[in-house]
């Protein structure tokens, strides 16, 4: 990979999480605290997207390893092949705080997110895409193994 592309990717990936940690908590507290602190998937989605009315979609592509090489940095890419994408929300359902981040898109942006997430144990990576006011979902299982006995 070219260095420029790497920098671009790194920036886009860390946008929300980085902002969230740099800015004073009070700036985001108003809208994201409940969502990020939610302990279960449904409340996290409800808090950040305002609804749990979601339909499964084959037009969302999640690229993630079947088995993670390192649970601390699992590469995840989400591409939404849908019209009028407003946001992509990434969730790790078995994490103590399942919400990883929510990325908002201007109409002119390609609805694509590349990030690295931390997963404590085997679970599903869930991508929720808000498009034209509706919520769509795709799921991919990522195993986090104790490792060791392949041969």
């Amino acid at each position: 990979m070219q260095r420029r592309a790497f920098v671009q990717k790194a920036l886009s990936a860390s946008a929300l999480t980085a902002l969230a940690s740099i800015l004073p908590a009070s700036v985001f507290a108003a809208w994201s605290e409940t969502a990020f602190e939610a302990k279960d998937v449904d409340s996290a989605i409800k808090a950040i997207l305002g609804s749990n009315d979601i339909s499964d979609s084959a037009d969302i592509d999640i690229k993630a390893p079947e088995i993670a090489e390192n649970g601390a940095v699992v590469p995840v890419q989400v591409t939404a092949n849908l019209e009028k994408v407003e946001s992509i929300t990434v969730i790790a359902d078995k994490n103590p705080s399942p919400l990883i981040g929510s990325f908002e898109f201007d109409e002119n942006l390609e609805p694509y997110v590349s990030t690295r997430i931390k997963m404590g144990k085997t679970g599903n990576v869930v991508a929720i895409v808000k498009a034209d006011g509706k919520l769509y979902r795709a799921v991919k299982q990522v195993k986090v193994t104790v490792g060791g006995c392949g041969g």
Binding site: M1, Q2, R3, F6, K9, A10, K63, P65, E66, I67, A68, E69, N70, T122, Q141, K143, T145, V146, G147, G148, C149, G150, G151
Partner: protein, 586 residues
Amino acid sequence: MNRREFLRMMGMAGAAGMLPTSVFASRKAPSDLYEVPAFGNVRLLHITDTHAQLNPVYFREPNVNLGIGGALGKAPHVVGEHFLKHFNIPAGGIESHAFSYLNFDKAAQTYGKVGGFAHMATLIKQLRGQAGEGKSLLMDGGDTWQGSGTAYKTRGKDMVGACNLLGVDVMTGHWEFTYKDKEVLDNIKDFKGDFVGQNVKVKEEAAFDGAPVFDEDTGHAFKPYTMKDLGGARVAVIGQCFPYTPIANPQRFIPDWEFGIKDEEMQAMVDQIRASEKPDLVVVLSHNGMDVDLKMASVVSGIDVIFGGHTHDGMPAPTMVKNAGGKTLVTNAGSNGKFVGVMDLDVRDGKLRDFRYRLLPVFSNMLPADAEMSAYIDDVRKPHMDWLSEELSVADQVLYRRGNFNGTFDQVICDALRSVHDAQVSLSPGFRWGTTVLPGQQITMENVLDQTCITYPETYRREMSGAEIKLILEDVADNLFNADPYYQQGGDMVRVGGLDYVCDPMGSMNTRVTEMRLDNGELIDPEKKYVVAGWATVGSKSPEAPIWDVVADYLRDQKDGVKINRLNTPKLKNVEGNPGLENYAV
């Protein structure tokens, strides 16, 4: 090849004297066994998973190789009688011995050892000679630089030299990556062929910090594919390294490289090669393991043949897989130097028209040793002979590893760990390599190293809760029995000592292992702590002596013969009638 075709060939083989009636006859070289009739215009030769076995060995095929879900009863998940039936192999002959565990002890004494690079060299020279100048290619599917004492001592260099002498043109890897990254790169530099792998990338951060990379734009750590001109046909060989190397083996030796199945990138690569290189044939040299290859062949289109390894399945015939673009053949060529795969292809006008395939067993008594290779092998072994040749004990039964659960040699290792480290329970990895010792044979240090020689051999003794032990067993069981091949790592179940359990291979994650008990019948309590000994820790280096010294100490104490009092294989559930299981007390 279809079944009828295969049957015809086996019939021919039978008629041609491959089925000797006496020991004497078997020792006469029936040259017909190795005369493959000329066909087509391209000959592709394939060896894989030799695990550094430079000299001939015994190798017993499994009696347990369970197929789960869609793999039930299909190749490679058939054993013994079921295997013979599946591939139409006559019972009791030399092929039956080569491909199955049946009557192993007696047949091994009749037909002798298998493999050995000097014998393989003779066969390969002969096969390349038959094909004619420039019309054949020798591919090595990897797991070549690890598995013996000399490979360990020379950091794989003895095998690089042997492969150069053998004339390997293309290779890919897995255990190759268990040396340090700098050593891997140095070995690749010394290797005279092409080392290929489309699914290994330099991590972005490492590339940013200036780590060596084959292609800065794509991030490929190694050449992803190579083009070969064979008798006028343009052949593309794409490499596929073992996708789960940094999970199944230590990441600390190769921190800059990331792996994965990367089937979408495989598809993109096939498409790109088909568009830009105008190949007549596209093959993949794979270390995915057969189940993963079968799935990849169904997902990716445009590959003519996948030459597979890793799972050590000696498949006499390829499996034909349908996909969106047509059909892909999938082979697997066994292990430990026991076989050479020979595919003759009729390739014309950018298309594969027809083919013939044989998986030739390398019987060392029937193939004279190549003098140059013999001299090379003697030379690399010479400085280590004192270490290798020590006689530790005597085998009182066939000592082997291969199979989904504890083999007898695993039990010896597990017993040694418990005894030397004074532990209640022992754990030993379910590798598929490791050679076989016949009853009455001396167990030498070399035999022990064949079973244990890795670059992270240190042992441990520590307390684990019952829940932790169960977590390990469940985790490995899911790597083996997950119904989706992409979640399988291609090893066998972790071997256990001092522990019995019930296993339901058809179950889902965390539900397969029940009724864990110590040898005295006491149920394992999830809350209680147990002293556990083991080796081959992937995460970090363990503190105690290397496993081969632990096993050697144990064997030296039983100089006159090692006894196995109890084989800790699990009781199985839901496997009635599974053709991947024979001769197993359920």
